[in-house]
């Protein structure tokens, strides 16, 4: 059973375009994290959101946690080729166990 659904699974866009990735669940999480993974490497944490309705910004990336703490979104403004990678959302359960979504493979073409 996939607790976290990410959409879209694949996204191919041109440099300069904006995009949004969604992460939805029927479960409530104590917090939710977003990771970025490049080929041959492990995931790297981008952000942790904790409070319902919380919005965090990391340069051109904007992360939002839903009011009910069940869903989240990642918005990238003016995407660049360096943003290419696998974006993963992960719900954090008590004790630090992470449940990952299946990931969104982003390709930004110059």
């Amino acid at each position: 059973t996939q607790l976290l659904e990410q959409s879209p699974q694949f996204l191919s866009i041109q440099e300069g375009e904006n995009l949004t990735v969604y992460c939805n669940s029927s479960s409530v999480f104590s917090s939710l994290q977003w990771y970025r993974q490049e080929p041959g490497e492990g995931p790297v944490l981008l952000v942790t959101v904790v409070t319902g309705g919380e919005v965090k910004k990391l340069k051109r990336l904007t992360f939002q946690f839903g009011d009910a703490r069940k869903d989240s979104s990642l918005h990238i403004t003016a995407a660049q080729p360096g943003d290419t990678g696998l974006y993963l959302c992960a719900g954090v359960f008590q004790g630090g166990k992470l449940i990952f979504g299946q990931g969104t493979e982003l390709s930004v073409k110059p």
């Binding site: 976290l4 990410q6 104590s30 917090s31 994290q33 041959g40 490497e41 492990g42 995931p43 790297v44 944490l45 942790t48 904790v50 993963l88 992960a90 954090v92 008590q94 004790g95 630090g96 166990k97 992470l98 449940i99 990952f100 979504g101 299946q102 990931g103």
Partner: protein
């Protein structure tokens, strides 16, 4: 300051064999978690070790076992390998002092296991 290191980086086994993967956590971290990432999927939680004991376990059969040593390093053992065990095995470390619910996990680069 070394991050999380895993070994080996790649290995090939045949069905029925056994494999041991190793992980050294980031300096100052005391908790190690293992994840399995199949091709095109997100990582799946296998288990977590703290104070040399398994603290949490995901939905994996008993063929998957682990160990944590006094220096916080860890091993993942998989017995009776199946073709479906082919995956990237990721080790992640964290510190209990940070708080387990919001603390940052640091991942290693993974061990790529291929079962033929």
């Amino acid at each position: 300051d070394a991050g999380v290191t895993q070994s080996p980086t790649h290995l090939i086994k045949t069905r029925g064999q056994q494999v041991t993967l190793r992980c050294s956590p980031k300096s100052g971290h005391d908790t190690v978690s293992w994840y399995q990432q199949a091709l095109g999927q997100g990582p799946q939680f296998i288990f977590q070790y703290y104070e040399e004991e398994e603290r949490q376990r995901g939905n994996f059969p008993d063929r998957f076992s682990g160990h944590q040593f006094p220096n916080y390093s860890s091993e993942l053992n998989v017995n009776a390998l199946l073709l479906g065990d082919s995956a990237l095995y990721l080790c992640a470390s964290s510190s209990r002092l940070q708080g387990s619910d919001t603390g940052e996990l640091f991942f290693g680069e993974g061990s790529r296991l291929t079962v033929l």
